[in-house]
Amino acid sequence: MTRQHKDGRRDFVTFDFPRRIFRVSVEGKTLDFDIENFKSYVLGNSEILGQVFRNPHFMEGFSAFADNVDSIKNELLLPEIQHILSEIWKSS
């Protein structure tokens, strides 16, 4: 999820499946979170995250995503892509 600002700044949220890490970049600061810490971060920063990303379903969306990471990975992520991603992270 990427918020593009008029002045060129970009804020974003991504999730890295092999490492199970959320990366959040807001107002020039980039942070990595494991799943539990991400949930706490979102809960504690709901107001600013809501303003930055303007997504009215940000909280419940990411809460559901964080609670279902394994289901998403196992049921929807192509196995061959999972494998390659894991190999890349092992070698990096």
Partner: protein, 225 residues
């Protein structure tokens, strides 16, 4: 759905020859309106592929079904996703802009870019299309016309004229038209660190289906021939 079945799933792309000359002409004075609409989509909507999963997860919870079961019947409406989550993927952003332009009687069509870019060959085969954006046809003067490229999916907030060497800057990246021809053109994105990403856009009318489930991912465009 088993992993084996998932691996068999492919998003297939159907294209048919498309002559930009058949698009309704856009008056040159309307370029300002186009640019305003383009900027609005780029700035007001996020590039957001989480919106698909948010919607899928919500439906799974509502229906009390596994994700894989919901996925099999999941109908994707990328413009509605954009409205609901204030963001969607490149195709949805392009369709949103196309809808907004159509309301101003400015007609465009979706065009695909192909090429290997995903992390594995399997992923590339899964999706085939790399990016979806828009082209329109502008009346340059009494005798000449020019193809305009609009790329909200690439976060480019300015119209691009499809002519060799045409350049624009958008949010720190430089975009250059190269290898422009009647059937295709290349957009080279030059990043601030010098990295270049090249995308080959094909001037062809686009339809997409997930072949395993026969899902149509794009609404049927009106026949503008």
């Amino acid at each position: 759905m088993s992993a084996e079945n998932l691996s068999e799933t492919r998003i297939s792309v159907e294209v048919r020859a498309f002559a930009p000359g058949n698009l309704p002409l856009i008056e040159q004075v309307k370029i300002v309106d186009m640019e305003e609409q383009l900027k609005n989509v780029v700035v007001d909507y996020n590039f957001d592929t989480f919106s698909f999963l948010f919607e899928l997860l919500q439906k799974a919870e509502e229906d009390g079904l596994p994700l894989s079961a919901v996925f099999e019947t999941f109908e994707i409406d990328t413009v509605n996703l954009a409205e609901k989550y204030q963001g969607t993927n490149c195709t949805g952003l392009s369709m949103l802009l196309q809808r907004n332009l159509r309301e101003q009687k400015l007609e465009t069509t979706l065009v695909p870019a192909y090429g290997n870019y995903l992390i594995t060959e399997a992923a590339d085969e899964y999706a085939e299309v790399r990016t979806v954006d828009l082209v329109g046809l502008m009346q340059r003067d009494l005798k000449s016309q020019e193809t305009i490229f609009l790329a909200p999916g690439l976060t480019i907030d300015k119209p691009i004229f499809v002519r060799e060497g045409f350049q624009v800057e958008s949010y720190g990246n430089q975009y250059i038209i190269t290898r422009s021809g009647e059937e295709s053109f290349e957009v080279a994105s030059v990043k601030p660190d010098g990295d270049i990403v090249r995308r080959d856009f094909s001037i062809k009318k686009l339809q997409i289906q997930i072949n395993r489930y026969k899902k149509t991912l794009l609404e049927q465009e009106p026949d503008i021939r």
